[in-house]
């Protein structure tokens, strides 16, 4: 029952010595207490959510503050002669704000865009689904004729607008392996704290210089805080832009690449597999960086990039493989130079040490005059001579046990060889550089057991075969070391960042353990390789131009097919300006293909033009020859 009144006569009198009217008046305090309790409850709750709990303030800011990131203009990339090779070009999207569309002449717009009406309707529906009040792209990456057609008539189509943004474009068809590419950031990278400043959809350098110099190229992003209402419509700057920052354009990269030399190198390597690396030994600057097969850098930019990337990735020739940095091969005979230098430094041989061309130790590829000094040995690439050089260097008699002696000797040899930057990353300004491998005694212990091996086990090292791997870049660097007579600068692509110079680590000389005079002992031999009668690298001679080339051929035995051909050289011998290493897979004897190719590169670089075009034709023929063989 709604109103069960208390009967005053029976109950109340016993408890309350007051009249019923007075008792009921007392209930006003109950009512007032209810009011006050609710008020206090509210005051406390409000104090909690307004003053104590800060999360609501953050939530309000999240609601109404929109952070607009202004992506700065990405830095440009130039070659060593100031030629622009990578730039930004605007890409245009047709944007639409569905709510602002008025009296749309769909047919006419579709005619201008040369687009089926049905397709247009679908795109418009998608845009409406996204938002009726916010701009969204209706058609992305308009072609130039499409842009021209629509731009002048845009005034007739309220609600439609053109948005420009920047994409990478290339003024070169070469150097893709060094340049790398720019693409949208992946969800995985977004999670890493290193990329905290990026948001989904941002572009960044994925590989190559674009990736290594990402921070430099990207510049500083600008941030603007805008107030937005519940529908996401802008309502002006937050606190008059007090917290906004302006974007700062990225710095340009001035690379050491000689575009013409690069282009020439890629042309020479067309239809072949392998690499060419050319360095300026005086600075460590990379002049050319050829990886074959190659691809055009523009293939990894703009519309359809994803599909083209997959095509390259699935290509059996593996054009994405960065051979100069990532392919490690046994260096072959070129490595005899290093072994000789190590032995000279150890003092176990002299330039005039004579060893017989003893075919019982190791086969020599051809018959030749007796190697009575190191010059002849290098010129003829005499295998038994360098076998004996290495044995002298390894077997020092430091232990009566010949096996222990080999271990001690190899450890000492390795320490010396490593000082050439081998078996470790050189530190070039590209990612994913392979270390290569210089075998240690522990490696052979693992293979054969401790004291389970002796010099006869490892003798292939003496001719650059066996358990040894070096990259094309390291090979070129060996030439730079010999050209400099004992030191090198870390090979690098970028000689200038913005208005400044290269990174400081690229101005530092790295000395080998070899004293300068020992280089003087081998350089004449290297010159004789090219110019001496019967030298293995005679095809590389530029004597007709008065340029003396010092080089060394190599023919690398290969378990998987025909030998690889190498040739490493520097020139001019008396004042080296270029150090080069050519590596052609499965091309046979180093002297026939790699040597002429290296000499053409040197001719191109030093003389800016090539007159010995007959060698280009020769190389083409050579190419067809080995391609058929393969």
């Amino acid at each position: 029952m709604l109103c069960t009144f208390v009967d005053p006569d029976t109950r109340l009198g016993a408890f309350y010595p007051v009249s019923f009217v007075q008792y009921l008046e007392g209930r006003k305090y109950v009512v007032q207490t209810i009011f006050v309790v609710v008020a206090l409850l509210f005051a406390a709750r409000l104090f909690y959510i307004q003053v104590l709990d800060g999360s609501y303030k953050l939530a309000a800011d999240r609601n109404s503050l929109q952070r607009i990131v202004q992506v700065p203009y990405r830095g440009l990339i130039f070659d060593r002669n100031g030629k622009l090779i990578v730039q930004n070009t605007p890409v245009y999207d047709l944007m639409v704000v569905p709510r602002e569309i008025k009296q749309l002449d769909t047919v006419r717009l579709c005619e201008l865009l040369q687009m089926p009406v049905e397709e247009f309707r679908l795109a418009l529906t998608a845009a409406k689904t996204y938002s009726r009040v916010k701009a969204s792209p209706l058609i992305q990456n308009l072609s130039t004729p499409e842009l021209a057609a629509i731009q002048d008539n845009l005034i007739d189509f309220p609600g439609f607008s053109i948005r420009a943004h920047m994409a990478r474009s290339y003024k070169t068809e070469n150097l893709a392996h060094a340049l790398g590419y720019v693409g949208a950031i992946t969800p995985k990278l977004l999670e890493s704290p290193k990329y905290a400043k990026y948001i989904a959809g941002d572009n960044l350098g994925i590989t190559g210089l674009e990736s290594f110099y990402e921070k430099t190229l990207m510049g500083r992003r600008g941030v603007q805080y805008r107030m937005v209402n519940v529908r996401g419509i802008e309502k002006g700057a937050f606190r008059d832009g007090e917290y906004d920052t302006l974007s700062v354009a990225g710095l340009d990269l001035h690379t050491s690449i000689d575009s013409e030399l690069q282009q020439y190198g890629e042309m020479l390597m067309a239809q072949k597999r392998g690499s060419i690396v050319a360095l300026d030994p005086k600075t460590g600057e990379i002049l050319a960086f050829v990886s074959a097969p190659n691809f055009e850098p523009a293939r990894l930019s703009g519309k359809g990039m994803g599909n083209r990337y997959m095509d390259l990735l699935n290509n059996p020739e593996r054009p994405l493989f960065n051979r100069p940095l990532m392919a490690t091969y046994p260096p072959g005979s070129v490595f005899k130079l290093v072994n000789e230098l190590v032995a000279l430094q150890m003092g176990v041989v002299t330039p005039y040490t004579s060893f017989p061309c003893n075919q019982r130790l190791v086969k020599c590829t051809h018959r030749h005059e007796p190697p009575t000094n190191v010059g002849i040995a290098i010129k003829q690439s005499c295998n038994p001579y360098f076998y004996q050089v290495m044995r002298t260097a390894i077997m020092r008699g430091r232990s009566s046990n010949p096996k222990e002696d080999a271990r001690l000797g190899l450890a000492e040899w390795r320490r010396q060889v490593m000082s050439f930057g081998l078996g470790q990353q050189l530190g070039v300004d590209l990612g994913s550089e392979r270390k290569g491998s210089i075998p240690s005694p522990e490696l052979y212990d693992k293979m054969y057991g401790r004291h389970g091996w002796n010099f006869r086990t490892i003798y292939s090292l003496s001719i650059g075969q066996g358990e040894i791997g070096i990259t094309g870049l390291q090979m070129a660097n060996i030439m730079a070391i010999i050209a400099n007579r004992g030191y090198y600068y870390t090979p690098h692509f970028v000689r200038g960042i913005g208005q400044g110079g290269p990174l400081p680590e690229y101005r530092e000389r790295h000395y080998t353990n070899i004293d300068p005079q020992h280089f003087d002992a081998i350089i004449p031999g290297m010159q004789a390789v090219v110019e001496g009668r019967g030298g293995t690298g005679n095809l590389a001679s530029l004597a007709q131009f008065g340029i003396s080339v010092a080089g060394k051929t190599g023919t690398v035995q290969n378990a998987h097919g025909p030998d690889h051909a190498t040739f490493a050289a520097f020139a001019p011998a008396e004042d080296p300006q270029i150090a080069i290493a050519v590596f052609i897979e499965n091309a046979g004897f180093g002297g026939t293909s790699a040597a002429p190719m290296a000499s053409l590169m040197i001719e191109k670089y030093l003389r800016r033009k090539v007159e010995r075009t007959q060698w280009e034709t020769w190389l083409e023929g050579d190419a067809s020859k080995f391609i058929r063989k393969r």
Binding site: M1, L2, C3, T4, F5, V6, D7, P8, F20, L24, E25, R27, K28, V30, V31, Q32, I34, F35, V36, V38, A39, L41, F42, A43, R45, L46, F47, I49, Q50, V51, D53, S55, Y56, K57, A59, A60, D61, N63, S64, L65, M227, V228, N229, V230, R231, K235, G236
Partner: protein
């Protein structure tokens, strides 16, 4: 009008009028802030009447103006008329509610608005004062000392008829307001048991949502059993009573469950669920509650400043100038502003209790308590829902929320009380 205007004016309760004026004034400021948009600076200059009429803050000026006229009429009319014509007002309002039910166009799902040309009125708002007058009149005529089942049934019927019609028009929030009459009846002698049972039902409803039903029953049994055992020396004489209390509570658990799942409509159920878990309906009612709490919670101690509330000016809180006006107070004036509003309401309520208690007639006193209770119910539920302590019930914050019907309704409620109070000395005990 036997006395001079000056004497009459002196006998008016100016304290209440002062609080009323303050609340309406502050209310308008907040309606202005809620309808303010940074794009279109406010002001009268260069705008036509039609353009101005598109703004809630401008229309509220008109509503306030008419309310002033209304209050003058209300205090000038002979106070006896309210007593005499109480039943007539009641009959008219019931008729209006019935008519509305049949001719009203549905607006946002409710058929509760009468349209008279450009003006829209909600008869439910006026049912409050008419019912308050009628039940007070009836209360004055019955003898409290003698229980009379027939009188009580009539009183219950009078109280329930308007809210039932209002529920039929799908305006449940306004109907719940009539529950406030229980406070006034309590003051006039109603058993406190009814209030206690209702409060218990509310607590059980919330507990039933938080805890599985069987656990709840088990828990209640344990607690009651514990109380019984601890006081067993006294209690053992009242075992049947204790058992029936237990049975009633368990019955309530099932009743509440039935009420929640079978009686309540899905959207009403949602509103209660959201109270416990705002993410239950993040884009529906939960959105209102979440955004409202963000608005108030982001105000801090001193608030963001007048017209500086981002939640307010960027429309994050729906129904900002009407039911959720307290968000604007909380966001732009902070905790200090909220406390000022709470203190104003407390002052008004305490003053109303004081004024009611000084009435010599049961009619005047009952009416005074009715007015206080209705104001309190609106205040408690409205502020409670904006800070997530009460379910979202669409009722305005008295004198603050935008809206003509609501402002008029509360003005009428209050100024009839003032008119009755002004003549209390002439009205000998009836």
């Amino acid at each position: 009008m036997s006395s001079s205007p000056a004497r009459y004016s002196r006998s008016l309760d100016w304290v209440t009028i002062g609080i009323y004026a303050l609340m309406v004034g502050l209310g308008w400021l907040n309606v202005y802030a809620a309808s303010y948009s940074p794009d279109a600076p406010l002001g009268f200059a260069g705008q036509s009447f039609q353009e101005l009429m598109a703004n809630n803050w401008f229309k509220q000026i008109i509503w306030i103006g008419t309310a002033v006229v209304l209050m003058v009429i209300l205090v000038v009319v002979d106070y006896k008329a309210y007593d005499t014509f109480a039943y007539v007002f009641y009959a008219v309002v019931v008729l209006l509610l019935l008519v509305t039910l049949f001719i009203a166009r549905p607006i946002a799902g409710s058929r509760s608005w009468l349209e008279l040309g450009p003006v829209r009125l909600q008869p439910a708002e006026f049912a409050k004062f008419a019912t308050a007058l009628a039940v007070s009149r009836f209360m004055a005529g019955i003898n409290l000392r003698h229980q009379n089942w027939r009188d009580q049934a009539v009183l219950a019927g009078m109280t329930l008829l308007p809210p039932l019609l209002i529920i039929a028009s799908n305006e449940t929030g306004q109907a719940l307001v009539f529950g406030a009459f229980l406070l006034a009846y309590f003051r006039e002698g109603m058993s406190p048991l009814i209030l206690i049972v209702l409060a218990a039902a509310g607590v059980i409803l919330i507990l039933a949502l938080l805890i599985p039903k069987l656990w709840l029953i088990g828990g209640i049994t344990l607690i009651l059993g514990g109380v019984f055992l601890v006081n067993s020396r006294v209690m053992r004489h009242h075992l049947p009573l204790a058992l029936s209390v237990w049975a009633v509570v368990v019955g309530m658990v099932f009743g509440v469950d039935f009420f929640f799942n079978q009686v309540l409509q899905p959207h009403q159920r949602k509103r209660i669920e959201v109270l416990i878990n705002p993410s239950a309906d993040p884009l529906g009612v939960g959105w209102n509650v979440t955004q409202s709490k963000i608005a108030i919670g982001s105000g801090g101690l001193m608030g963001k400043g007048f017209l500086e509330g981002t939640q307010t000016k960027f429309d994050f809180v729906p129904e900002q100038s009407t039911d959720f006006i307290f968000c604007t107070v909380g966001e732009e004036w902070g905790w200090m502003g909220s406390i000022v509003v709470i203190i104003l309401f407390m002052a008004l309520l305490m003053r109303l209790v004081y004024v009611a208690e000084r009435q010599k007639s049961v009619f005047g006193r009952t009416y005074g308590y009715c007015v206080a209770s209705i104001f309190f119910f609106h205040f408690a539920v409205n502020v409670g829902m904006t800070i997530g302590l009460a379910p979202v019930v669409g009722i305005p914050l008295p004198l603050f929320s935008y809206g003509g019907s609501s402002l008029w309704s509360f003005t009428i409620l209050l100024f009839i009380m003032l008119a009755i109070d002004a003549y209390r000395k002439q009205d000998l005990v009836r």
